[in-house]
Amino acid sequence: MITNPIGVISLSKREILRFFTVATQTIFPPLMSSVLFMLVFGVAIGQRIDLSASGLTYLQFIVPGLMAMHLISSSYENTSSSLFIARWHNHIQEVLLSPLSYFEMVLGLLAGGVTRGVIVCIGVYLVSFVFQPLPILHVFLLLYFMAMISVIFSCAGMIGALWAEDFNMLSMWSVYVVTPLIFLGGVFHPISALPPVLQVFSKFNPICYLVQGMRYSVTGVSDVSIGLSALFAFILAGGFFFFTVHLFRIGYKLRT
């Protein structure tokens, strides 16, 4: 399916270079906020929260959630800002004029989102060692979920960037959809701690399954079936990826 590997590598390199050149805005802020979350919620408030039934401290409970949260937001923000700015400045033409297939274009743009998300996710895990070492129980499952989540939200970022006509519209998805779903997805609380109505709502929140997948991979604890989470993540990643390729193929807001 890849006929122009040099083209895909070039686009991937450009996307990765782009966020590395502004690392103070793309890499370090989520690490900083994670340290603050761990300090305030994990260390200060967390000591008063009893999760002994799960065998975890509150800090151990939120670390995988924070990893998932920043994996989601970093992947999303990378592709949404990169593609939207490319549309805004119209240098997206550099890519559209090239002999990259639409599949390859999405793959190249995806590389930036996935790489940034994974770097930030690993970074969050590493900074958690400052407070309390947390061994990873299922490394390959964790890699699987990291890959799936970063693909899903990198593609979601591209879809948002294509849909948006201005910067207000661009931030709308992030502020009103992605962030609430993340916070209600069990990053900071077990689903069982919610009132019954919100527990039902959580079952329809796709991010809940992804957060639980990350948590199970690291700690072995989950509120939902891990098989279901893994399958759901795979279906979502495939769906989002091919839908994004479809939007590029029809030239949605890319071609006049």
Binding site: T3, N4, I6, G7, I9, S10, L11, K13, R14, L17, R18, T21, I85, A86, H89, N90, H91, Q93, E94, V95, L96, L97, S98, P99, L100, S101, G251, R255, T256
Partner: protein
Amino acid sequence: MRLMYNSDKAISINNLTKYYGKLQALDNVSFEIKRGDFFAFLGPNGAGKTTTINVITGLSNYQSGEVTVFGYNTTKDYLQARRLIGLCAQEFNFDPFLTIHQLLVYQAGYFGVLPHAAERRADQLLERFGLIEKRNVKHRALSGGMKKRLLICRALIHDPEILILDEPTAGCDLELKYLIWDYLTQLNGEGKTIFLTTHYMEEAEKLCKTIGIINHGRIVRIGDKKEVLRDKTLEAVFLEVTGTE
């Protein structure tokens, strides 16, 4: 990667129709450009020149018709067609995160040019267009004329068979205009097909072998330069066929 093609028609457009909403931008446009031609595509503002270019390069969808580049359909065989085209657009649409050298190297990469060859080609073009001293700056640090040159460098970075230029000398000083003219003449002499839009009649008259004039989305005159001019000036012909005062 070099493509094999055997068509002598660099660009072939058949019955091309394009609407923007209810506005018809191109009305059943048909014409051909031979391999190695230097073609001037003229018309008043809004006549359909840039739309035609956008359709050829794949930047615009269209409702009906067919466009081929050296026999490759630009929709069905878009990967092959795009390898053969270099576009020098009107606007300065550069990636703000890259230096001008990186910009050219990445652009070459999208076309499948290996990194070391891309580096060499980028330096050659920057040298040729007097930008080598600026290779490590971002495009925002360039003057308008320098950005024009960079647009041409970017269009040429993958050594395309067809170079499409949308008003490349608009707003240029004389020195840059002559530099561009010389280079285009040289490229055409080497066998490259040039497709040029311009509002400067003397430019088209001086450089081009074939001339096409479009007005309100329709081709109103096309042919060999002598055939189009018939002892008149290009400006007179242009005014006559476009009905412009």
